[in-house]
Symmetry: C2
Amino acid sequence: MTKYVYLFKEGNANMRNLLGGKGANLAEMTNLGLPVPQGFTITTEACTRYYEDGKVIGEDIVEQIYAALAETEKISGKKFGDLENPFLVSVRSGARASMPGMMDTILNLGLNDVAVQGLANLTSNERFAYDAYRRFIQMFSDVVMEIPKPLFEKVLDEFKENKGVKFDTDLDANDMKEIVVRFKEIYKENKGEDFPQDPKVQLMESIKAVFRSWDNPRAIYYRRMNDIPSDWGTAVNVQSMVFGNMGETSGTGVAFTRDPATGEKKLFGEYLINAQGEDVVAGIRTPQKISTLANVMPEVYNQFVDIATKLENHYRDMQDMEYTIERGKLYMLQTRNGKRTAAAAIKIAVDLVNEGMITTDEAVLKVEPKQLDSLLHPQFDATALKNAKEIAVGLAASPGAACGMVYFTAEEAVAAAKTGKKVVLVRQETSPEDIEGMAHSQGILTARGGMTSHAAVVARGMGTCCVAGCNTLRVDEEAKTAAFGDLVLHEGDWLSIDGSTGKVYAEQIPTVDATVSGDFATLMGWADAARKLQVRTNADNPHDAAVAVKFGAQGIGLCRTEHMFFEATRIAAMREMILSETEEQRRVALDKLLPYQKADFKGMYKALEGRPMTVRYLDPPLHEFLPAKNMTAEIEALAKELGTTTDKIVAKIDELHEFNPMMGFRGCRLAVRYPEIAEMQTRAVIEAAIEVKQEDGYDIHPEIMIPLVGAVKELAYVKKVVLDTAKKVMEEKGVELEVKVGTMIEIPRAAVTADEIAKEAEFFSFGTNDLTQMTFGFSRDDAGKFLGSYYDKKIYESDPFAKLDQDGVGKLVKMAAKLGRETRPDIKLGICGEHGGDPSSVMFCHKVGLNYVSCSPFRVPIARLAAAHAAILEKQGQL
Amino acid sequence: MTKYVYLFKEGNANMRNLLGGKGANLAEMTNLGLPVPQGFTITTEACTRYYEDGKVIGEDIVEQIYAALAETEKISGKKFGDLENPFLVSVRSGARASMPGMMDTILNLGLNDVAVQGLANLTSNERFAYDAYRRFIQMFSDVVMEIPKPLFEKVLDEFKENKGVKFDTDLDANDMKEIVVRFKEIYKENKGEDFPQDPKVQLMESIKAVFRSWDNPRAIYYRRMNDIPSDWGTAVNVQSMVFGNMGETSGTGVAFTRDPATGEKKLFGEYLINAQGEDVVAGIRTPQKISTLANVMPEVYNQFVDIATKLENHYRDMQDMEYTIERGKLYMLQTRNGKRTAAAAIKIAVDLVNEGMITTDEAVLKVEPKQLDSLLHPQFDATALKNAKEIAVGLAASPGAACGMVYFTAEEAVAAAKTGKKVVLVRQETSPEDIEGMAHSQGILTARGGMTSHAAVVARGMGTCCVAGCNTLRVDEEAKTAAFGDLVLHEGDWLSIDGSTGKVYAEQIPTVDATVSGDFATLMGWADAARKLQVRTNADNPHDAAVAVKFGAQGIGLCRTEHMFFEATRIAAMREMILSETEEQRRVALDKLLPYQKADFKGMYKALEGRPMTVRYLDPPLHEFLPAKNMTAEIEALAKELGTTTDKIVAKIDELHEFNPMMGFRGCRLAVRYPEIAEMQTRAVIEAAIEVKQEDGYDIHPEIMIPLVGAVKELAYVKKVVLDTAKKVMEEKGVELEVKVGTMIEIPRAAVTADEIAKEAEFFSFGTNDLTQMTFGFSRDDAGKFLGSYYDKKIYESDPFAKLDQDGVGKLVKMAAKLGRETRPDIKLGICGEHGGDPSSVMFCHKVGLNYVSCSPFRVPIARLAAAHAAILEKQGQL
């Protein structure tokens, strides 16, 4: 028979998956001989069975619960519903991963009309007992029975009004007794039956409520944000109550063994005398610093310090503890590895190594890769943020905080920034022409678009804060207004946005700059020593390349050449090329683009100081480079400049219009139809490489990447154009370079036929943005219409554009890697989608055996750390 | 060493792949002891090696050619370049599959300044010899050396002008001698060297030219149209020349053993006395019926009849033969299984079985499935068509011929048709609102869209002729004009279109109706007995369902429910549903749709008379049902009707706008967000099934298909909605039905995770239209921009929307079928994309082990026959 219930003394810290974090640690503390109010844990497996069985607790489990209950009563010497010595318990959730505040808790369970008197007798405090009882009735009704809370609060308010007092504490024992009567009446009115007097009934209903709360909307949301699978389930801990509110020798508090904000090694925490946990949370009274407990209850304080040290040494990590003092006796209610800021995480990890407590590998694992984000970007001043009022939430598209004045077009943003103003660019959505405006802004806010929309991708590349897809925002670019419901902002109004949380504030909130300590470099050194995966960056200009190198990038994995074509001077030639009617005309325009493109590549090669660079050839549909059809003035100007008619330009715009631009005339399809574009790009790459070699001595091996390949013959055709041109240029210059031609794997057909494609491709780079779109069959720009429903209904648990879908897209990646290696054993494999900077996706890339990941510059440290995690976990047999 | 050259006596008919059709049959005739001018065949492998070696004929092959040449000279007793008895040859292509006229031929090879005199001596006919020489120089220069033909024709014209005569035949031997001199001068001017006098040089250059001609544009196009792989290559036949133009006892002709138009069993053919093959082709003189040869040369005629009978009995099929009579002696130059009309193919197949010559399986294989198309649709009157002038060519999107007056909107088409006019509907592209107009038209012509565009799919479903994506057509719907270059048609002008060829004619061409013989039913009966695959149809209304049943459909594989929502009375409720702001409002609108939907299903169930039907739930993006944003009047009317504002409707249109509608809010995503839609559809299906069961006694097992599933949880969610509703309805009605819920596999992720999806899906239907789009990453509506370049550059050899891409999309289908069966061994597998009606794709479905294919009604016989081919070929070990 499966064991679904464990007494605390039966478990240990290694049973976290089964007992949840809280349960496992309560068991471990019990084993360590620490003062823990005894109880038992109902396992996570019981929770998943509860759901499988159609939200029923099986008979066998009920029996095990009753047996554990009896055993716990025996240990405590108390009895459920007893007049002399009533047994009271708390019922708390406890999942494998901490989900603070997301699920339900019931305290004081076991109180009924008899036990309340027992509690009064035992404590000689009738008011305390009846106050506990009415709290229990209220909590049970609200949390377990879903009776609206305000019904109870109204009664309390009436009593206070009638008595002319302000606080609950001004009500006496008789008031509480009467309130209990009234509360029980409310219960009966709503449920059609009496408030349950049988503590076992109370218990079973409460356990079910905790199981149910695993699936409440905020828990689902939290899991999605934190990559916690919904099938883990929660354990339930049933624990003897202890009371911190039994007078001046009682109290309750929380403490950390090190400062969770800075990592400093000193006991850090607070407590309240004569209070229960709820009171600390409610924030009505101000808690005391834990150091002052040394004066108030020196013995208890010393005992606590001993316990804290013992726990930290035992767990070899900073501990976050909850404790209660009941009439001078200390009880430990919880310990866990404490949450901490990124800065603290790094300091603690490095300190623990220096203290000889852990290895460098263990230190690396103690820092969550995702956390690094906050170290590398400005943040809001924490105090100012507390008082700020959030007006909307969008997608946390690019981390950091920004505060500036609202501007609605890229031009106006640039103009304002040049006068020294701080700017937040607000757009319906951004497009490639907005690049300059984005670069001059503190932050970018868009109404549309997902985690891989243009705004998000470009902002992450720049390291600029961005909140995207803010659904409640209505932008009117003509009227220059941004409306959030009734609140309407105009050009020049202040706006603050937080790209790490997606929150938006219509006010000025000061920011503090990012700071990186020496410990950061130490830890990243350990990470680099551990990892197997190389980390490259996605960068399109020398500045980004230099930033990425500073962050430890080992080269460029994706240089998107088209980003270079949008600058004012270049787009003219680009448009001339697109509007050409003959190959000859096209070549004339391409010749104008060549010097720009070559200069860009030279700048990048120099910034890379000899590191490798993969250049991806022109990818987007050509219509992106033309003005929109309704931009009459721009079309007229263009017609004049190119000596053609507006009609011809409009005809071309019509011709290039696409029903599904995502699946249209783009990628290598451009080079197949217009091979002269690939010729120009090849000439630019090779000439740049040769000149930089001659000027700086770097030995460059150009890597040329053909996008959107679906069939090997496509690649073979373009590869031939590239190699023929490269050969010609090298002969002209009298310099030989080793040139590699590879492809993106971003179309399902390419993944499925990777064995064929590897006959031509010398490397693969998985373009998991497009591969995700094609594999799922939804466009990132349109998915917003239904992804909300998908999360609500638990069909998807995470955004597949942010976190690689390992079951579907990942299966194609794995298949392609295997097929590719069968044909060409030494083929180099990398990933250059947005997933290259997502820790869980990086771990996947390690597992599949890729050679490198490539991500935006500011994510390079995250990828380095995640790659190290993967390698260390693999070494430990945990991957 | 590989043998690249075979003497005719070394080969046989089974060596077609190596020797090509012509070479294999020349060898076979030689073996049969028939009078064949001897020679040798250079294999198709030599051709592929020629390309692999960079368009060079390898030394070893050259040696083998020379050896075979020497042997052939010996057999003929003649010598290359000989003054006494000069050896002359023809050099002809001969691929594995017949590609008539697509590649090059060189005749009279071996003539030079010496041999021409030899020929004159031998024939005592100087004019004949020099005429042959000048023809050879001209042909060699044009075909082999690419010297422009008009240069030579100009000289001929000059001679005729100077002499004041009209025909070449009016020039005498001296003229011909002078012309030879002039022709050699032209050659030297253009090539910078003398016309080659060495017959071996002439021969090697000609062989190379034939190899090259395998890759000329018209050959590439022909292969693409006929599914011939480009890596097959062509063989080259070098054969001793015989001359049909040596006087009145010479002649040349072609003949069939049965009538290729009707299949009637009688010798059918014609000949010309004193002529060469070119003269028959040129059509200057009118050939005689072959029966008259019995009077002219009775011995030759009898010999020919014997040979023809012998060949038909030997090949057990109708033969198409070429022959030449040289000075009273008969030579066979070619025999092959003759091309024939569909009607003839069926008659011949059935007759051959009745004559005891072949088995029914063999008879089934003798009819090409594709051919049936022409039997089932009207065709142009062949005589009238000969004189018609084609003005444009589009895609042959739905077969048949149509002639009618041009109308530009569906409304006007309907109105005109109701007055008794024959209508051709001409549109930029069609949309679902055009359905009624399409149904009233003889044919449909669109300027945009591919083989699976809306127009093409719907037209095929209706069996209506359609030419789609006619690029040179410019439609101005406001001005009501259709322009083809300078030719502008107006409303009411006559237009004829051929949906089997894609050709468009601006005139009235009479059509003849389709006729189906009793032999057709006989043959299809044999096919049905042989096949393993079931054949269902795609139909959305009772009429189409009934047509399909008449054509032998075994049920409906795909009933697209949305096509039912576009009729005027229904679209109002549909729009009300879309514009609803709450679930309640939506339910009110859905209640209005329910009776229509139910009535449709009842009609279909009745038409099917108990056959199964798979109903696919609402699939297209909702914006397809709303008016376009610029349709102001329609929006105003709608606002009035629904009691809302135009602003609100425009806001909804904006909200529903998608960047990539193909990859947007559609398919099961609709049901996930609005489960009440699936509830209504389920109620309609179940109530219809129950009522038809009660009214007609058919035992119906509804099959409900959820579209666009990408993840098993999506399907599980919608399936639960369906089954809960079905249960409820069945309880209400007190009738139990077996209900199956399955899914389309049309998204790559579904194929890759088919093992998971099969946990919920009781059947899979491969939606290969969308699967092709997603797997290739291009939209069928946009691919036109680059597919042309892809065909030109031989990257793709066929349209993946018409013929299933077996290497890529097919791999996913295979994988999904395997994974699905692993989870659920009895899972039913079908295909309902357009490929279900394409013969090669049907064969693939058989190979992969699907249970059924589903195609448009008019393709059902084709699919039945193709399925039979697959089963028979498999039995013969040839699949």
